[in-house]
Symmetry: C2
């Protein structure tokens, strides 16, 4: 494959700084090893099997996925796949059951309906599937909310032929504050989780796997009593939100969107060719939808579909039409999901291209 140079590449284009990414993987791996926590990275962030393979090489014990398509593409490199979402509906179940035999599949779920559908599908496929009972520890999105419900659902999993009770999972996605402010919220997660674990143990349902973790809380995962596995997604790349929260330094951010200045006609701003269809449009309390990697004081103030407007009020820099910039989006996962491919970059050179094969539903 012939690779374009950064100067000739069509924009917008997603770039991954390979050295930074590798350093991020090593740092996460070392932290989790130090604390004896299993690492099951959430591959929804990159949706690229080659990057899942690097995470496995760096010490991950399996991968997490969000969709049947992600399960399929990640199943090509991983033998242990957790779908951390209730697989409801015959079409999704059929795809999951068709994964290669070699893949140990487990799923998270929080309802009898989801359990019954999975049991039927697994039975028809003659496939053994692991189950994690999903717990709500404060996010109020999914997950059973009381220890009694957790015990009842775990009992049904144990009783279901073809399914294997592997434990519990939760996601503390409601904790989004800076590192030093997370303490009380994490303590509350520990407390809630403790009530679930206690009830399960008392019922003879000690969970082998207690899977938690999120990128914002990553470096404090060891403080949550009982957790033995985490599922951070954003860590290979990081983004503006995680940098703002103090989860990483700005110089650790490995993902950016290369964009071209296409208009300076309206005074006091510059317009780039990356908007909500390249960066996404997710709010951040800081304001704006991204910031320039090399000039973080320059914020993407607003985005429309194919345009981003750079706020030049905090810089002396006055770009010309044609100049190129790298934008760090607020939320990397949704920006990656807008890309056909990620370009691997090392020291200003394009060194590879990864297709984002886990997007959408895949080939019809």
């Amino acid at each position: 494959m012939s690779l374009p140079t950064l100067d000739e590449m069509e924009t917008p284009a997603a770039l991954v700084d390979v050295d930074r990414m590798e350093a991020n993987l090593q740092k996460v791996s070392a932290y989790l090893r130090e604390h004896g926590l299993r690492w099951r990275p959430h591959t929804k962030t990159h949706k690229v099997p080659e990057l899942a393979a690097r995470q496995l090489q760096a010490g991950a014990s399996g991968v997490t996925v969000a969709t049947p398509r992600e399960a399929e593409v990640m199943g090509s490199v991983a033998d242990d796949v957790l779908l951390a979402y209730s697989p409801v509906g015959a079409a999704k179940l059929a795809r999951l059951m068709a994964l290669p035999e070699r893949v140990r599949l487990s799923v998270g779920l929080d309802s009898r309906e989801a359990l019954e559908g999975l049991r039927e599908a697994a039975s028809r496929a003659g496939r053994r599937v692991g189950v994690l009972v999903e717990l709500d520890v404060g996010m109020r999105r999914v997950g059973v909310t009381t220890p009694e419900e957790a015990v009842a659902l775990a009992r049904e999993v144990v009783a279901a032929e073809g399914l294997e009770y592997q434990g519990v999972m939760f996601y503390p996605g409601h904790i989004r504050m800076a590192r030093e402010e997370q303490g009380p919220a994490l303590a509350e997660v520990s407390r809630k989780l403790g009530t679930f674990l206690e009830a399960l143990r008392a019922a003879g349902l000690e969970p082998p796997v207690v899977s938690g973790g999120s990128t914002p809380t990553l470096w404090r995962s060891h403080e949550v009593a009982g957790v033995n596995e985490v599922r951070p997604g954003i860590t290979p790349f990081f983004d503006r939100t995680t940098a703002w929260m103090g989860v990483c330094g700005w110089e650790e951010v490995a993902y950016s969107v290369l964009a071209t200045v296409v208009s300076t006609a309206v005074p006091g701003q510059a317009v780039i060719d990356a908007g909500s269809k390249a960066l996404a449009k997710e709010e951040l309390p800081l304001g704006g939808y991204g910031a320039l990697l090399e000039r973080p004081e320059v914020v993407v103030r607003t985005v429309s579909e194919e345009h981003g407007i750079l706020d030049l009020s905090h810089t002396e820099w006055r770009p010309r039409v044609g100049e190129r910039v790298r934008v760090v989006p607020n939320h990397v996962c949704v920006s990656v999901n807008l890309q056909d491919a990620l370009w691997a970059v090392r020291g200003g050179q394009v060194v590879g291209r990864w297709d984002v094969t886990g997007r959408g539903r895949g080939p019809a």
Copy 2:
């Protein structure tokens, strides 16, 4: 091609009600015919050449596109393509110049740099390209801001060999209020546009094309003096925002995302499998990120990547896990951009599938 039924289809999936879409096309076509306005629909909304073909059949005189990829796929069905964005950079220009000879290409631009790049590329390719000078009439995004700049740039277009001065374009995208409140803002657009047109005429640069229009202002396009072409995008489908603004009735909305209820574990809400990666996450003053087509009082209160949380506080309806719903997103263009395909639906039957071939950059 064997088509799935709505019941067996994997979710999330984008549905287009074909009868509603056809009615919308006819309504737009009739309005513009009545007022003698040319219709150049913006195909960034659907990114599907088959749908551009229907718009041309319904009376469109050409199409508008946002990217080289869109130009390529729409060029397969349209002979007249306007790239309503400054094509800056060699890669984009090369793709545009490689469009079939048959395609009359024009572009909008607002700078000497963009003009010079285009002139060089057109000269090298031996291709004649039309140019619309882009004007800012109040949105403050792109477009020259003074009549003097417009005249100067138009003069340079006229002088540039291989380029053809076709007129001016603008986008009143800052007007987003309900129909009855648009009056003063539209009058101001007319006034600003008038100062540009007057200066151009005085300089002997009467613009043959005066291209404006947006979906929010669509039905009042005839009130903007001088406009002879409009470029609405959203009109085949409409969405929650345009319905909220009164541009269409709820019963005219033709696009929705089919989703499955995957969790009801947390009381007072239901969670569907459509989140920011299916609906996008664009704010609306109304609140929420979408509403159910058949129960508009049920709003998608929050979205995460693969989950949407339905607010059940204004309904007696209590869905079960496994139940299916159709969600109208706030902004259809960015939702379509997240889909591999759109499913054509008529009376509860799936009657076709359109691949969203204009997404991203296309095949490498």
